[in-house]
């Protein structure tokens, strides 16, 4: 399975819709400080079902919605869609391509979709269970997280091992 593309709209600093198509091997994301690179990592975590606001660098989930600039008004909805190519059938669905989407409205309303069919957060989390992409895994290393991997207390470290087992 690999990540084909991701689309962000209204998510953090991505006010306007942006699509990124990824290489099957190594893609690099570069740019100046504060331009939005780590926000892309947050978007990927979020669409995979991340529930911890701390892990998304915020104080409330509403903070993932574009909140405006000195010249632009805030938006009322954040939306992220991710398309994966399901070769080898790693994902427990019959499709060759799987698109997972998540939307959050300022009202607090959330939407989750798998291949355009509305579902629950639970279904998204279950879809990725046991793929190494779920919570606590070692496949998404956030900025600055390297030092905490080593300084984590010995019992917290178990989490990444249990994901691998």
């Amino acid at each position: 399975m690999f990540l084909k593309n991701i689309e962000l709209s209204g998510f953090k600093s991505f006010a306007d819709k942006v699509t990124l198509e990824f290489s099957e091997r190594i893609s690099a994301i570069i740019g100046p400080n504060g331009s939005g690179k780590s926000n892309i990592v947050d978007a990927i975590k979020w669409v995979l079902g991340e529930q911890s606001v701390k892990s998304l660098r915020g104080k409330s989930m509403e903070e993932v919605i574009f909140n405006g600039t000195t010249t632009r008004k805030p938006l009322s909805r954040a939306s992220v869609s991710m398309t994966l190519v399901n070769e080898k059938g790693l994902l427990p669905v019959a499709f060759k391509e799987v698109t997972v989407s998540r939307q959050l409205y300022r009202s607090g309303e959330s939407k989750y979709l798998i291949n355009n069919a509305e579902c629950r957060l639970k279904d998204v989390i279950e879809l990725f269970m046991d793929t190494g992409l779920s919570k606590g895994a070692y496949s998404i290393i956030s900025q600055g997280q390297i030092s905490s991997i080593l300084t984590a207390n010995p019992y917290d470290r178990r989490l990444i091992f249990e994901e691998a087992a």
């Binding site: 290393i141 956030s142 691998a164």
Partner: protein, 163 residues
């Protein structure tokens, strides 16, 4: 469950040792259970000994040595159970030239079987990638993805993308 955990643990330890020796061009490393009799609850200890040096606790390793150790652990877990893709945000930040080269050599090997997305400020790392995305904020506070540059070595791939 205990049996499966211990089996996985031993595999990770074996790979960790091999990868550390590669990343440090020598030396050794291992992960161990603090309490061998309580595998399901025990904490996990990480020990790394850079070449020529004596083992000291991991906290007195330098910033760059700690980063290389963590990279060894992440790749060891990855080898035991590869995830579909791996997303690394500025993992190469504290590395000097020599360590950076060894990290990139290992990354390219792993990338033969897995997909990697790397955020970096290092030019050497950019040169090792197939696709480069430039994120910018021409309009302050609003992110744009401004350019996709495919490396010279991948002319076929770029035709695919263009077509």
């Amino acid at each position: 469950a205990e049996k499966k955990f211990l089996e996985t643990f031993r595999k990770v330890n074996k790979y960790f040792g091999e990868l550390i020796a590669e990343l440090f061009n020598g030396g050794s490393g291992e992960i161990s259970l603090i309490d061998e009799n309580d595998a399901l609850e025990s904490g996990i200890e990480i020990t790394v000994r850079p070449p020529g040096k004596k083992i000291l606790n991991i906290m007195s390793l330098s910033g760059g040595e700690q980063a290389m150790s963590a990279i060894g652990l992440i790749f060891a877990l990855f080898k035991v159970k590869p995830s579909p893709f791996c997303l690394l945000d500025e993992i190469d930040a504290p590395l000097d030239d020599a360590n950076l080269s060894r990290f990139l050599k290992m990354l390219k090997k792993f990338a033969e079987h897995s997909q990697f997305i790397i955020i970096t400020h290092h030019k050497k790392t950019m040169a090792a990638c197939d696709v480069l995305y430039g994120v910018s904020m021409e309009e302050k506070g609003v992110s744009k993805v401004l350019s996709v540059r495919i490396s010279e070595n991948n002319k076929n791939y770029s035709n695919e993308l263009a077509g």
